[in-house]
Symmetry: C3
Subunit: 396 residues, 3 copies
Amino acid sequence: MPEIHQLIGKVHETGASLYQKDFFHTWHKTPQELELVLQVAETLKLLYLYNVSTRCFDSGLAVSQFRDNSTRTRFSFAFAANLLGLTVQDMDEQKSQIAHGETVRETANMISFLTEIIGIRDDMYLGSGHTYMKEVGEALDDGFRNGVLPQRPGIVNLQCDIDHPTQSMADLLHLINVFGSKEALKGKKIAMTWAYSPSYGKPLSVPQGIIGLMTRYGMDVTLAYPEGYGLIPEVMQVAGENATRSGGSFNVVNSMEEAFKDADIVYPKSWAPFHVMQQRTEMLRNRDSEGLKELEKACLENNARFRNWECTREKMNLTRKGKALYMHCLPADISSVSCKNGEVAADVFEQYRIDTYKEAGFKPYIIAAMMFTNRFGDPAGVLDQLVERGLHRVRR
Amino acid sequence: MPEIHQLIGKVHETGASLYQKDFFHTWHKTPQELELVLQVAETLKLLYLYNVSTRCFDSGLAVSQFRDNSTRTRFSFAFAANLLGLTVQDMDEQKSQIAHGETVRETANMISFLTEIIGIRDDMYLGSGHTYMKEVGEALDDGFRNGVLPQRPGIVNLQCDIDHPTQSMADLLHLINVFGSKEALKGKKIAMTWAYSPSYGKPLSVPQGIIGLMTRYGMDVTLAYPEGYGLIPEVMQVAGENATRSGGSFNVVNSMEEAFKDADIVYPKSWAPFHVMQQRTEMLRNRDSEGLKELEKACLENNARFRNWECTREKMNLTRKGKALYMHCLPADISSVSCKNGEVAADVFEQYRIDTYKEAGFKPYIIAAMMFTNRFGDPAGVLDQLVERGLHRVRR
Amino acid sequence: MPEIHQLIGKVHETGASLYQKDFFHTWHKTPQELELVLQVAETLKLLYLYNVSTRCFDSGLAVSQFRDNSTRTRFSFAFAANLLGLTVQDMDEQKSQIAHGETVRETANMISFLTEIIGIRDDMYLGSGHTYMKEVGEALDDGFRNGVLPQRPGIVNLQCDIDHPTQSMADLLHLINVFGSKEALKGKKIAMTWAYSPSYGKPLSVPQGIIGLMTRYGMDVTLAYPEGYGLIPEVMQVAGENATRSGGSFNVVNSMEEAFKDADIVYPKSWAPFHVMQQRTEMLRNRDSEGLKELEKACLENNARFRNWECTREKMNLTRKGKALYMHCLPADISSVSCKNGEVAADVFEQYRIDTYKEAGFKPYIIAAMMFTNRFGDPAGVLDQLVERGLHRVRR
């Protein structure tokens, strides 16, 4: 399996370590650390295809905490844990969403006695999701330092209010596979644009994750949205700085057409305006159901003004040779399929449907790589061992 | 363990393969294929008793999707997956029951990236359950063909609107064990009869599964129900054709007594009339709760006309030497135990209680055998390997 | 690993066996049997720290049935099962809480075909929880005796109406670790006292478990509660008899201060009065929601009369040298943190916070030890084997 040894060689070459480091935002990781995750993900994927077992835990738990509904991330997390030999235990709160002091500290320890990884999704409350994850992390530090926990479980951000790193890293791996290499992405134009949806309140973390990550690879990242649908200012700033550093660019426009112009990649996706999410967070906290209803109504009315922000064949024709790669984190609001008017026309989606499925298919491996690099100080060494062990995943 | 080698020999002798074939209806399988499932189930059961580990997956998921409540099938599926080394991940929809296009296609792929088996129960909507499973299967074919999925997960029907193969096959294995052999079933009379229940809307798949399967083994299958409680015509036809081919018979009568007369086996169980299930499906789809209430009322009133369709000692005395084997898929509506008037008298049920538990005890192995034969092209070979490995399931 | 061999030696020295014995109440176990559980728990904990895999099941299920909400016991059960190689399958009823005849007998068998352990929490109904567990046990006996079940799963009481043995045994192991040995506990004064809480209806099983267990180790156990908040008389009697036999003492007082006086350990925790739990049970059974509301109101008003039953710094100063160990089963009602007025002052809790986390940290190992000793006739021998195998839990 020379291909595998080559990949493991690349893991080794990164010289990076994410040992015991939580994965919150991609922009807090070095290029080498990101490269490490990508290479480990590729290696795990190839080992799976070669039927080599990558079970490196004989027991141990991976705790998931979904503070928002989820099917695909839930499954991706389950795939990843299972691939490494960890058993998923779901932490089902059914309680107030807002964390307060003592509870978080205590609960974080109680669910961690024999736990290796905690995956958290908390994306509904602006200013709260990332804060919550950090709080959990500090509680784990405290418990480990004081001898409560025999190990300090690693945290994987499965989507917060700021970033969605398992999504953006899977998206990046997809791009690398489509365009052939990381280097090939340099100078490519990606249009991360708002798109119309008949629902409201979708989190900002996907577009933020994309502009925060793709700007690091020398891409020309264009963010497009109708006036009033801006993202968190801090992330906009990160994207700008990234672009400068990487030799790419980061532009913001208010026209979908302009963004699509000569784009190599388009990522049309709906999200709620920043200030609406702020209001919504406040109302959810105060359980102001009247206010929420009115907000929804006002938002949908406002959304409706931008119904033409749809990824149609016409708009696709504006892209480079009319052949840009269409991306989506799924599920997409597909016009006349899943809704009357949506983010994307049915024929465009159908053309790229398989591509979007493949894009999603990288996520289990990205999550597994985040788990793996968090637990092993010498990931290349452990991968070597797994290859050497040569245990079949499925008996033959 | 000569007994085990003998059993594996029988697996080999079937010459059959269910590799990569979904298991939807028993009547779409050849006699050899059914034999294969039975023999693998027996082998796995014996290996369990001998404390030989049959874990043949070092990792991998078995996804379950229960579109209807379930305890025993849920546990049987969990037992089966665990026995082979697969981890169960439940796909919990809490969404509309009616599948539509894009969603099914996409979801089927999203839950399958590292999945070996998908078990589905969808028995509430006439004309919908089997259709849904086929749709999932086509989506998986599509995903596998297009390189989205590294493997094409197998589907096991855990009960649809038409057949309940894990039940009927477990029932068959029970009969083989009680009567000594498959051959001994030839000429035996089995009475699959409707019975009174104070509830309505029970699926037709159990009686359909029984008449569709038992008619293949030269049995005299008598189906009995009060006028108006007929089954799906297509399955009735299948049963008739099976009987002709196998040298058995298939008769329909409208009297429980007549069915019980000289029967070797009785299977009294309530179900809803075909046309009621059709109306109900329509109403559920239209969320017509008023209509549903009225339908329930009318049905229960109609049911009440047949309260005498109860499996009593008197009726049991009509069977061959008064000693027919009583069967039930459980839970039974037991008169004066779980309800006032039900399907079976308390003393009759008590006499056969342990038998019905044993009957249920075959299901985990039948499901495991369906999983196993779907994933391995050479089941006898893999079983041989497992015996040779000689790993204890529980340390000693 | 001489330390481990020493511990396994102690397991051996107990000469006890809990093979095939359900664990319901600590007071039905011999001192040697309790010692066995403690030593196995310590050994499993040390093996975990030494990264030695204690997976002794290659497959098998551990069924959990929580008839009351639970996070920490649910996780402790999951940790324990995973540590031994068992997969948790949750039995989710969402049905009537009150068990009746046939259903229990049948369900117990249906969930047990390939099951090693059943853990049950049923603490809400006075006179019902333990009865239910016994009923499950008898059903399993019946199923095993009649050849329905290939093995008789063991039952672990995860909290009933009478005892909470996984809690009290974890508490005991914590005390042994804090004070250095079981022998060091002799003559120590432990104050198990009622404390004020703004909620009502908390089960009695924790204080009952504590007085039923700690009285066996020669401790001076003082139970304190406001008039009217007595425990189940039978358990009070058990505690008295235990104390006589062990050379300790068991006293009941109606003053928190008196209980704290010169105490080495304090365990201030709220519970509902015995007679209130009886009324409540009746009302829950009759679904008397009006009655329940009134009962809650009356109880909270009565509770409020004892708001001064709070574990404050002042009261802590009454303990031996003001340095008693504070214990709690968690979560505690912490004044001005999780509620306005509660069981314990914030500064006292904070001082002992880490201690209470460590106390909780013994529970996974206690449960694992209960599972382990139930399934293996020669626990020391199996532990020896695991050490000899030397398989790493996490690859290195």
